[in-house]
Amino acid sequence: MDLLTAFTDHLSLGLSEALAPMNLWYCFLGVFLGTLVGVLPGLGALITISLLLPFTYQLPVEGALIMLAGVYFGADFGGGTCSILLGVPGHPAAAVDVLDGYPMAKKGRGGVALFIKSVASAWGSIFGILLLMLFAPLLARFARQFSPVEYTALMALGLVAAATVGRGSMLKGLATMVIGLIIATVGTDVNTGFQRFTFGLTGLSDGISLIALAMGLFAVTEVITSAGQKSVSPVKASYRLRDQLPSRGEWRRVWPAMLRGSGLGALFGALPGTSGGMATFMSYAVEKKLSRHPEEFGHGAVEGLAAPEACNNAGIGTAMIPSLTLGIPGDAVMALLLAAMMLHGIQPGPLVMVMEPQLFWGLIASFWIGTVFLLILNIPLIGVWVRLLQIPYPLLFPGIVLFTCIGVYSTAHSTFDLYLVLLFGLFGYLLHLLRLDVVPLVLGVILGQPFEENLRRSLLLSDGDFSVFVTRPISLAAVALVAVILAFSIRRALRAST
């Protein structure tokens, strides 16, 4: 099939859907709320999406997904603003912005730093989404021939990769991922109708409410961990448009860095589990190596800001290729977006593109529209957001808990879910104290049921013979990768202990 005609067909279908007035409004609302929460230190896309999940019940499914995806991109933009002006990362992926963005702001060039960040992010998004539009149909066509065996192996790969690539110990990531899989087994077993781990509580027979889990683990835990910490005040800068424009010499350094960053990000984003933090630091290191002025890095080098930003956003785009076509999320935010799809009765996977083409392409086209909104919100209107940075955190967190409780209570008017939120909030805090990362846990919860389902079906088809996973090429490749990652993490754990 002609790649270009397919591309233009999908683009026009998507744009016609995304430009519908209601969807434009949801897209704007999403990027607006995302930026709003993203600029506040410590609050990122995860909390915002968790908080909004219950309210998307009432929306049509397109609107809900477009809004939540907008929050994702918006929070990313806002997080960078927070990193640059406060020197405190708004979210993990924006940590690298602190290295050169904050020194620029301290030298009085905060406006320029914000401008470069916005342009680099927007370019990265546009590039990553372009690749997503080109390659998602190819992967989906391929994936429609997958049997449960391939799915089981690919899910195992997605889970293991996401659990081990994150921060901290690989073994700990694997352990929290397994806890997530165990939490997913709570409720009625689909195959046998058996109640598992419900302990006679009717509130658990449909499984653990994903909304309560996400709100507890992200919002409540975050409030407990950050309460009592000191607020930092932002660096002053001028935000008139004239003062934001980089000089001609800076432009010449920025645009090649943007191109390199987006290329690297696109490459890494497509691999499972590597989006976010790791790729951006790698892109930073590459720029430092290539630069003729490596001594400027860490003191406000424009390349060190532009390349990782472009890298991060390009990676978001390509990370969506496996997430949206296979239904295997690469990070926690994608997991929540897929969860929102499931709440609306759509099973994520290669069939979404065929059964719901308007939804699928409309969602993707809305990413581009959202990027345009974000440029408008973040370049001329940046001064408004900067003022938000001055809200002291002690006034903020009671509101987060209140909105969490209202959101959870409103979905089913059940106080049981409120107790679940509390339980997961405290559990998340315990994990934090034990230095365990919650992100792999959420991926485990989301993938638990489909993973068990596909594992059962694979072994049913092979009559209990486990060799079925190594006799089919795609599954063999995935299983081999899982083995390599596991061997590597065991070796690293052994070496760290001596």
């Binding site: 009432q58 110990s169 073994l171 700990k172 694997l174 352990a175 397994v178 806890i179 899989l181 165990i182 087994t185 077993d189 195959n191 046998t192 058996f194 598992r196 781990f197 409540v220 409030v223 407990i224 961990t225 309460a227 009592g228 955190y393 002690p394 006034l395 967190f397 009671p398 509101g399 808990v401 209140l402 909105f403 409780c405 209202i406 209570y409 409103s410 106080t415 409120l418 107790y419 509390l422 909030g425 405290l426 934090h432 104290l433 034990l434 230095r435 068990e452 594992l455 059962r456 072994l459 049913l460 092979s462 009559d463 209990g464 013979d465 065991i490 754990a493 760290a496 202990s497 001596t498």
Partner: protein, 151 residues
């Protein structure tokens, strides 16, 4: 002292994880039918996961026991934990009996105590403002069926 240099927090992590894994596997084995790989019963997957978790916990604990330099660990914050717990419990217990307005107000008062710099007059003001704001957004704006007072 050798014990002082051990990473005791991670040893505890390993023990807790292994304990959780064993509990899950044991409970699943005792209560649910295991089945065979070709025809798995409801107990197969949980037993397997419990076993894997127990093994991971043991590995984490052992590695930490042999490690010499403990990593920096966050200190527990009982004040924040208590305040947030009290706030959510207060909301859950009163939202039906008293209605949304008193319940939301109580939540903000309790949760606000998590930060020592929040003094009472400020909290009262914040409680009133947030209650009014959330009432305006959720009940007036989004039309949620919550009653303001059930007194």
């Amino acid at each position: 002292m050798a014990d002082e240099t051990r990473d005791l927090r991670d040893v505890l992590t390993g023990v807790l994880l292994a304990g959780l894994g064993l509990a899950v596997a044991g409970y699943a084995l005792a209560t649910y039918r295991l089945g065979t790989p070709a025809a798995m019963g409801p107990g197969f997957f949980p037993t397997m996961l419990g076993g894997v978790l127990a093994a991971l916990g043991a590995a984490i604990g052992l590695a930490a026991w042999r490690r010499t330099r403990p990593e920096a660990a966050p200190q527990p914050k009982p004040r924040a934990m208590l305040a947030v717990t009290a706030g959510i419990l207060a909301f859950a217990l009163t939202v039906r009996a008293l209605g949304f307005v008193p319940s939301a107000f109580l939540l903000v008062l309790c949760v606000g105590m998590a930060d020592a710099t929040n003094h009472l007059p400020r909290l009262l003001l914040l409680g009133a403002a947030l209650t009014l704001l959330s009432w305006a957004i959720f009940v007036f704006g989004l039309g949620m069926p919550l009653s303001a007072f059930n007194l």
